[in-house]
Amino acid sequence: MSIIQNSKSAYPTLPKTLTGITGLDEITEGGLPTGRPTLICGEAGCGKTLLSIEFIVRGATEFNEPGVFVAFEEKSDELAMNVASLGFDLKKLQDEKLLRIDHVHIDRSEIEETGEYDLEGLFIRLGYAIDSIGAKRIVLDTLENLFSGLDNQSVLRMEIRRLFGWLKSKGVTAIITGEKGDGNSLTRQGLEEYVSDCVILLDHRVINQISTRRLRIIKYRGTVHGTNEYPFLIDEDGISVLPVTSLKLAKQVSTERLSTGIPALDEMLGGKGFYRGGSTLVSGTAGTGKTSISAYFANETCNRGERCVYFAMEESPKQIMRNMRSIGVELQKHVDAGLLLFNATRPNMYGLEMHLVAIHKLIKKFKPSVVIMDPITNFINVGSVSEVKNMLVRLIDFLQDEHITVMFTALSLNTIVNEQTDEGVSSLVDSWLLVRDIEFNGERNRGLYVMKARGMKHSNQVREFVISDEGLNLIDVYLGPDGVLTGSARKQQMLLEQTGQAIHDHSISRKDREIARKRKVLEATILSLNSEYESVEEELNKVYLEEELKKQILEKNREEITRIRRGESGRSKPTGGK
């Protein structure tokens, strides 16, 4: 409701009355003109009565503004019964004096016109009804029934004109409903649209056997308003209008990152995973593991204790849980813990708008932080490519506003031009993962790569995406001389390399041993040479000692001889002499 706050200006602007109807207050930028009549016109069964009764009921219940419902068609009881399915308890509101239903019965066959008359009776009646409960809102459904009940058209036209003026003077916010006339005229009488300050046209179209209700504001005096056709739908909570073009591209963004649950994938996305509030598309051909990636993401979200809604468009929740159990992802416990909510609907079940509103409502109710839609491809069955794209734009827009991270999966039907896919949302999403088949060497393997990831450094490599009993993993593909190898070819190549390594290692160790042996031999040689040297040395020493000894003995002998020659005592035997 930022619009209302923004409209602060120096001049008094048109006061508006909130309808309380989802979305209508946004496209009217604040509701219907207060104290003025609004015409709601459309063909039979387009929701005029419902919209007007919701206006009254919401006024009574949400804004404490009592309202009068003047029914020209349905009786009070019928009306109460018709809207009971929407949870509107008219009886209770009537008892609380917040609502007054006045059934105006008019039957031409019962009335004789005997001269000049006017509708003063109706005025008095309305005035009494308004005053009795202090009504701020009034609905006249359908005023033109007067024309079928009374003959004097000129009087009626004059009186209806007077009625509009009178309603304004009463200061009640009024809704007048009118059947769409023939051709281009909005009402049968071509009168109400000129005297109303606001005209809303309801429309109910069936395209491709799927009906879509639409709403358009044709005129709104004195204010700006959305001029487009807005789809709306009627469900158990009443009317929900969807503003298509609320795209303002001025959203809050988060720098928080969310793990994908697959460490190797986080690694490819700058090491951290997706941005919170971002949108991701996982596209790929059939059987490439898109659902598995989504389930991992859902599992990771729930493991963090956050809520996740899984919109399953193809498989039933039980089926998904069984299948994911086979790769080691147990989702049942998150469902039991109330963190994970599966919403399984066939896209064909209802129109795109209905889907969108159903999604909106569920998200508003469950308040998840992550939403998964698996897959979006089947929406194409219920709408054209541009309609689907339009719907997804609005969905992404809404989710970003709500700070919800979303992951779509999309099936690419064309295996050759993988980039041409996904209902044109690839340009809208923040990151795009592509899972593709790599067919090589008689087998099919999965390759995953990051096509784009806004605002983060991401890997430019193709990784082999392996689904096993242990779960998902991404493996570096083998880049060999023959190009990219995956699967068994990669394994084979790796084995081949391992063999080469083993042989290499082996030869190295043999050389080592040879060196060791040579060393031993040399060491032995050194040892023997050493001992040889020692023996030679010893020999040399022995000779030397002997020489020394001999020399000593000779010396001794000579001294002895010398002493003997000198004749010094013969204590010793003469030993030689000169």
Partner: protein, 108 residues
């Protein structure tokens, strides 16, 4: 219309002086209201003298009656009896239509 009269006569055995129960709803002193009162009084005195019970109700004074009597257009004359309830709107200037509404033979 004649049938109804006969039926009525047969039922009561003779003509009841207050057979016609008439309620005229008007809004204050609007020209239509005044004309309606004048026209109706004259008509009743002329065609059903002494046989009617006419009450004139100003709806402004009793607005709650508007819903009860399902009033839209005014002036409104409701013939409560005899026979089926009939409603006549307007200023009662078309005497033939009023007579038709009252179940009386039309004059030429």
């Amino acid at each position: 219309m004649a049938d109804k009269d006969i039926e009525f006569t047969d039922y009561e055995g003779n003509e009841e002086p207050t057979a016609y129960v008439l309620r005229l709803f008007i809004t204050g002193a609007s020209p239509n209201s005044i004309r309606a009162v004048e026209n109706l009084n004259a008509l009743c005195e002329k065609y059903i003298p002494g046989q009617y019970d006419l009450k004139i109700i100003d709806i402004h004074q009793q607005p709650e009656l508007a819903e009860d009597e399902d009033i839209i257009a005014l002036p409104l004359l409701i013939k409560k009896a005899p026979g089926k309830e009939r409603r006549m709107i307007g200023d009662m200037s078309n005497t033939n239509k009023v007579l038709k509404g009252l179940g009386l033979p039309e004059i030429n």
